[in-house]
């Protein structure tokens, strides 16, 4: 009966042992549930074998001036274009043009001869045309996205159409004069 009296006294102050037990039980249950949810959600993030594919190496030795190759990095196409002198000159001239996403060509190409870009339109993820001689390169001589009509220039910068940003420059290093590692 002593316990009952004690509980009554506590209840008078608006706090009971029962309230404490209830709230601490709910708190522990909620924390436990959250701790269970995270491993499940995290399992959807890239797995170790997927992360291990995060670099790609290739050679630019065989790419003729004016043409390009497409390499795959993390499942995405990467455009590597060996630009002509005229294309480089246009790109540098347009550094001062009216750009939606202003960037100089020097920032976008470590070596002016080779432009390396993630070949995914920044609008909704299609692959722009322009890597083959037969494909349209758009009004600015770079790339043209057939899905929604975005035009990119010879530096891969957005010039017209719905895309909000320039074609992304992936992180890359020249391991030698001709070998490149992306990622």
């Amino acid at each position: 009966m002593a316990n009952t009296a004690h509980a009554h006294a506590a209840a008078a102050q608006g706090e009971t042992r029962r309230d404490f037990l209830l709230h601490s039980t709910i708190a522990v249950g909620a924390v436990g549930g959250a701790m269970m949810v995270w491993p499940l959600i995290h399992s959807m993030n890239p797995a170790a074998d997927t992360l291990s594919l995060s670099t790609t190496e290739f050679s630019v030795a065989g790419i003729a001036e004016g043409s390009g190759i497409t390499v795959v990095w993390r499942g995405k196409p990467v455009f590597v274009r060996h630009r002509t002198a005229a294309e480089i000159e246009t790109a540098k001239k347009d550094d001062t043009a009216d750009l939606r996403d202003p960037q100089t060509d020097a920032v976008r190409a470590q070596k002016p001869d080779f432009l390396i870009l993630v070949g995914i339109c920044t609008h909704l993820g299609c692959i722009p045309l322009g890597m083959k001689a037969t494909e349209p390169r758009g009004d600015f001589g770079g790339w043209f996205c057939p899905c929604h009509g975005s035009h990119y220039d010879t530096s891969g910068r957005i010039r017209r159409g719905p895309a909000p940003a320039n074609l992304e420059v992936p992180p890359y290093t020249f391991l030698s004069d001709t070998t490149v590692r992306i990622g």
């Binding site: 249950g29 499940l40 399992s43 797995a47 170790a48 074998d49 997927t50």
Partner: protein
Amino acid sequence: MTEKSRLLKAWEWHEQRLPIGHWLDHSLGSKYPAPKNLNYWWNFGSLALFMLVLMIITGVFLAMNYTAHTSMAFDSVERIMRDVNNGWLIRYMHANGASFFFIVVYIHIFRGLYYGSYKPPREVLWWMGVIIYLLMMATAFMGYVLPWGQMSFWGATVITNLFSAIPGVGDAIVTLLWGGFSVDNPTLNRFFALHYLLPFVIVGVVVLHVWALHIPGSNNPLGIEAAPADKIPFFPYYYAKDAVGLGVFLVVMFAVVFWLPNAMGHPLNYEKANPLVTPPHIVPEWYYLPFYAILRAIPDKLLGVIAMFGSILILFVLPWLDRHPVRSATFRPIFKIFFWVFLANGIMLGWCGSQLAEGLPLILSRVGTFWYFFHFIVLLPLLSWVETPKPLPASISQPVLSPAMKPAE
């Protein structure tokens, strides 16, 4: 108007249009009156529901990383174990979860057997439970095939071959089940599809099970009708009680998941399926062992298969085999003894199923098989006829309020 009452009004607006809260409150909430004397054996129904949900959730995340193809299934499971973030945890929870789901359900079934929960007016409720049990066995079997290890493959071969015992059309049925002339890629593909489907069928039958439960209400340890005065709301009383049991259960289950994750599995299933080499000793998962023992006890292919399926199907007619008017074994001293004998016999059959089918295990599995059917077909009808029960209390409250009249138990 305060923020809280605005939320409450929005909720009421929604309830008038789709009374889902009302429905849940009546199904598993404060509007479901449950007898006040339920003991911890009644915890295993909500635990089974918890396990079903856990199995579906972990299973969905496993399916995101699993490949149902004979050339990739084994490796995709190893990738889950090694490369997928927390994949080992999710897979061990799912694999051991299957065992714990069966542990919970076996306790739930034996609780029903002990307290006569299958008796009128709960026969259809009992049927739904037996159907859930059968669906669980099919689901677990097909799930065990998916990792495409040696036990997966040869388990699938043996179990599907059971149907070849059917006279005349047996071989045609087995070819249909396989989608070919041996267990192969078409078999694996359909097993994966069905393994993903059946849990949701189980959810549907669980709804029927709970629906059927609400017509008469829960049975109780005394097995007598519970007067309205002897009932308390399911929420919050049994939520609180079940939460205690859930806590204890999770401690045990996760102790196994973290420290003994392969204790209930078979090491041979970490060896890739080889259709040209049968392992020297194949055993099913532990939860099938008693039935496997019954299958092997009978030296005839067709009769063995009939006995094995019959040992489960006989549960459907249990309410008409045991016609004794008193439900709870508490008041049936003779039935109570044979209940424990039956349980011990089931455990012995399980041990027999794990051994090679020769010598002592074979003799014991024959004795056990005989006793299994003798219990249902002879003993229960006989006891319904001859057993004199102890006096029943007039109400659930009576033994507590007037201890002088409390029965001996």
